[in-house]
Amino acid sequence: MARKFSVKQKETKGTFKSSMGKLFRYCRFQMWPLILSVIFGTIGVACQIVGPNLIGDVTDYIQEGLMGADVLKQISDLCFILVAIYVSMAILQYLQHFIMNNVTQNVVKRFRTDISKKINRLPLNYFDTHLHGDVLSRVTNDVDTLGQSMNESIANLLSNVILFIGVLIMMFVTQWIMALTVIVTTILGFAFASIFLLRAQKYFDQNQKNLADINAHVEEVYSGHNVVQLFNAKETQSQEFGKINRKLFFSGWKSQFISGVMMPVMSFVGNLGYVAVCVVGAVLIAKQGLGYGVIASFMIYVRLFSNPLSQIAQSLTRLQSTSAAANRVFEFLESSEFENPVLKVEDVKGNVQFDHVQFGYNQDKIIIKDFSAKVKAGQKVAIVGPTGAGKTTLVNLLMRFYEINSGDIRIDGIPTRFMTRENVHALFGMVLQDTWLFEGTIKENLRYNNENVTDEQIYNACKQVGVDHFIQTLSKGYDTVIDDAINLSAGQKQLLTIARTMIQDRPMLILDEATSSVDTRTEILLQKAMDKVMEGRTSFIIAHRLSTIKNADMILVLKDGDIIENGTHNQLLKKGGFYAELYNSQFEEK
């Protein structure tokens, strides 16, 4: 099976635009709250801008008071207005954040739900070519990043752009020379800051890469600890580690220095404007008799002006990660799904026919070339052959986990490709090599999604399979929770999955290497349990321990995707062909 690992794609402008566009469309169900949030934000910002202006008026009144005028009434009037403005500003800003938070969480929740549903609609093929960790990290990491960065960046970006424009206007309205002073110094300041900013990214990337390297090295050496130790490779590995560690030290030092300096540089830009405002303001007051209030309000404007600029810059970087995360999530959500036909078949007897089946996981590599076989209801069919011969593939096709390229698989004469997937699945019980149990009680695991199965039926099945006694010995019996704390052996787990299959009570059965991961004594136990389940059901058995399939009604020997022999155990042994060789190779050294 060819496994392709998805390669991280480089973010380009085009993908940024398209993923942001998709994100926007995806968020459309939250349109009204979003608009409301923008309105609240705008009004909040307006309050924030008007404030300094009024403070300036207050200062002017105080100044007049110094000259002997009675201004206390005007001042307290203004101050009450300011209190009202500040309080409503806080409330509006909070509401804006509150709504934005709701919006993002709703979007994020929808993303998670959609991913979980998507998993059910993807062809199995997808999971062969993508690592589990990859899908997992989309559900958690990417969606989390998306949520956080969206919340911060979009809310921030909106209010800061509004703030920036508003302050700009207000400054010019108040005093245009002062306004120009602020703008010029801020631009100069940012030009200076960009010396640092431009380098920063390079060092951050480097540091990130070194961190990943050291992670990889540590993971490898820790998991191969025995080997490193016993081959006296500690020294060389430690040196190797030291090398990466040293690199990380330098890149960490640099990137931390830069990110640490960013703040002071920004505040220097603020200070610079501050000084300029004072000096120019003072000169203007001296020359043109400007009120002091202008200085007071501009001292606040300087902060209000330089702040949103750095905030906007930050939000834009955050948006990059929003877009990258969104891109990965959309990539998953947009993967092509399988189609589902509508035919449903009931009361199946269990006659199965493979008719010139041809299949490959990808088009250029055919695994099953031309497979034909007829199985009568109730027969026990074993499929054997060397690794890579296509045994599991055959089962996958039978279950319609994959679509065959050509030919037909018919159940009671009806091609499975006309039946719904659910219908096909409902015909088979499956026991696989990897036991699959989830965190929950034993009973939940056994009943699974068959809600109308009674407790009695569960107990009965367990008794028949021979796992009832073992379950009773557990502290809480059938209500024992299966998690990491409880140590079930591979055999016990397998017995539980066999019991589950028993409970499902399907007309046909597939056993795919069900006993491969247990020792041979446990295998006998499992074998007995499986024989119980197989009674009266058409069964397909795959096993590499040939001793387990000797009593099959039909043995199909597969090699390179074709049946090369078929018959019963004794017939095939007598024939002295591939099966006989395979069978004998497990015992004798010749």
Partner: protein, 579 residues
């Protein structure tokens, strides 16, 4: 946390002193600025009283302010440089220390922590502590100095104004306290809820065939949506609480400056008072900033403390395996091994895994171990290279207790092949010429051929120089296993240990490999743990284990007759007529 900080070196302390000095300088410069502002305003007041305003004074004071701003920036940049150096070097040293410590661990210590946890402790936890040191060092010196100094400047200006600042600081602290109390427990909960989401999704992915076969897709979706709802609720809650922070801060800050001006309307009587009011506003903001910094430290600290604890746990672990002194100079490619009444139990465990095991392996013999899962076979052979130490009894190699050997000398005698093939990123060659194998190309090629790996290695693009990716993901399980075997062969050891190393191979390869192996390494003593009777049938000695006890020793034919456990295992694999 403090214990970990003891790892700082003397030069770090010198740096720290410089840092403190620079912080003092920087705070001083920052606090000078409003004074020059005051002078400028004072100069301007003159105009109100009909006096000539001296533009020069204004420009000079403006120049001073600029100088202060530049000086303050300079101090901060140098500080950033020093602090990032201290913290990065600290992380560098601790990382190496933890790594080397873990390298000395035996299996017992590793399994106590679990490999995954050790990886996090070596990487993530250290980064965590490092981040806090960077942010903390900037804040921990600056906040108190800034706070105290600013308060001192303010105190003698006006009590009413000071009171306003006091109220603002108090409000700030109360607000943040409320937020922390409400949000922190929720943040912890979010962590577990995220784990839940992760778990359910992993379940979904690993069980995808079973789920589809059972038509349980909806069942799974419902389960997921339950956890999804919980997680969303938790996020909504914390988001709502955290949203108070920004608007709250703005409100407190603007409220404070408004209060100062308002009070000013009543207390400002002279031009000096007026200038004071302007400077006071700036100082007051500084005080608020200082408290914000302090609060930040308190928020950051807990996480770092947890990480520091986890790192210390590793560093404080005593190595259970201690190297002996004895060195066997004569590595003559064969050795005898004797188990004398060996018992073993895991530390802290009640039950013995192995009980009273005694046997002898003569030079050049092949000893095989068989038994059901959990019978203790793997544990037993892991005692020979001291991956664990036996609890009672002793193991002698060439008559010397394994505990008395110098560890690397003991390791030199042993070629070990683990249960799962372990490969390291590098090349095929670097994986076989591993550690102190010192194998030349010819040995490497020979080892590969004995391990039945020539076929696929020669098919790789660069032969023995082909790349192996991290964890060996670019070769199959069986190929990994064969390369691990080649690695042990290239070592030319006196003792081979195969810990169930043949199960990943198909019967044919298994047989070929063992034939080649016994031809190539006939002098070496071999220990083989196996599941298949076929693999061990021809061993000189087969030891049958059941529940940690020896229930049979002998050759295949003897055991078939006298050992019921062996017979049972054999019967389950072969039919009667074949035995």
């Amino acid at each position: 946390m403090f214990k970990l900080l003891k790892n700082l070196k003397w030069q770090d302390y010198v740096f720290l002193l410089v840092v403190i000095g620079l912080v003092v300088l920087q705070v001083w410069l920052d606090l000078r600025m409003p004074e020059y502002l005051g002078s400028i305003i004072g100069e301007l007041q003159k105009s109100q009283f009909g006096l000539e305003v001296d533009i020069n004074t204004i420009l000079i004071n403006g120049g001073y302010m600029l100088a202060c701003a530049v000086g303050s920036l300079g101090a901060m940049i140098i500080n950033g440089f020093l602090i990032s150096n201290i913290s990065s070097r600290f992380a560098f040293n601790i990382r190496q220390k933890v790594y080397d410590k873990v390298q000395g661990f035996s299996l017992a210590e590793i399994s106590r922590f679990s490999t995954a946890s050790l990886i996090t402790r070596t990487t993530n936890d250290i980064t965590q502590v490092q981040m806090v040191i960077v942010m903390g060092m900037q804040a921990i010196f600056k906040a108190p100095i800034l706070a105290v100094w600013s308060i001192l400047k303010i105190l003698n200006i006006s009590t009413a104004w000071s009171a306003a600042v006091g109220v603002a600081v108090l409000t700030l602290i109360v607000m943040i306290a409320i937020i922390v109390v409400l949000a922190m427990p929720m943040f912890k909960k979010i962590q577990t809820l995220t784990d839940d989401i992760n778990r359910v999704t992993r379940e979904h992915l690993t069980g995808i065939r079973v789920i589809r076969a059972s038509n349980a897709e909806e069942y799974q979706e419902e389960k997921f949506s339950k956890y999804n709802n919980n997680l969303t609720k938790a996020y909504l809650f914390t988001g709502r609480v955290m949203s108070i922070l920004g608007p709250g801060m703005t409100l407190i800050m603007s409220g404070l400056s408004l209060a100062i001006y308002w009070i000013g309307a009543y207390v400002v009587k002279t031009p000096t008072d007026f200038a004071n009011m302007m400077t006071f506003t700036t100082y007051a903001m500084n005080v608020l900033m200082a408290f914000m910094l302090l609060i930040m430290i308190f928020i950051l600290m807990p996480r770092a403390i947890v990480s520091a604890k986890r790192i210390n746990e590793v560093l404080d672990t005593e190595n259970m395996i201690v190297s002996g002194e004895y060195v066997d100079e004569n590595l003559n490619s064969t050795a005898s091994v004797v188990f004398k009444n060996v018992s073993f139990k895991y530390p802290d465990a009640e039950e013995y895994v192995l009980e009273n095991i005694s046997f002898e392996a003569h030079e050049g013999e092949t000893v095989a171990f068989i038994g059901s899962t959990g019978s203790g076979k793997s544990t037993l052979i892991n005692l020979i290279p001291r991956l664990y130490d036996c609890t009672e009894g002793e193991i002698l190699i060439d008559g010397v207790n394994v505990k008395d050997y110098k560890l690397d000398n003991l390791n030199k005698k042993i070629g070990y092949v683990p249960q799962r093939g372990v490969l390291f990123s590098g090349t095929v060659k670097s994986n076989i010429d591993f550690g102190d194998n010192n194998a030349d190309d010819e040995t490497i090629k020979k080892s590969i051929s004995v391990a039945q790996a020539t076929n696929f290695v020669s098919r790789m693009s660069d032969g023995i120089d082909s790349k192996i990716s991290q964890g060996g993901t670019n070769v199959s399980g069986g190929q990994k296993q064969r390369l691990s075997i080649a690695r042990a062969i290239a070592r030319k050891p006196e003792i081979f240990i195969f810990d169930d190393s043949f199960s990943a191979l198909d019967y044919k390869t298994d047989r070929k490999l063992r034939t080649a192996l016994s031809k190539h390494t006939n002098k070496a003593t071999k220990f083989i743990v196996a599941q298949r009777i076929g693999t061990i049938k021809d061993a000189d000695k087969i030891i049958v284990l059941d529940n940690g006890k020896v229930v049979g020793i002998g050759k295949h034919d003897e055991l078939l007759k006298k050992c019921s456990v062996y017979k049972e295992i054999a019967l389950s694999q072969l039919s009667k007529e074949e035995l």
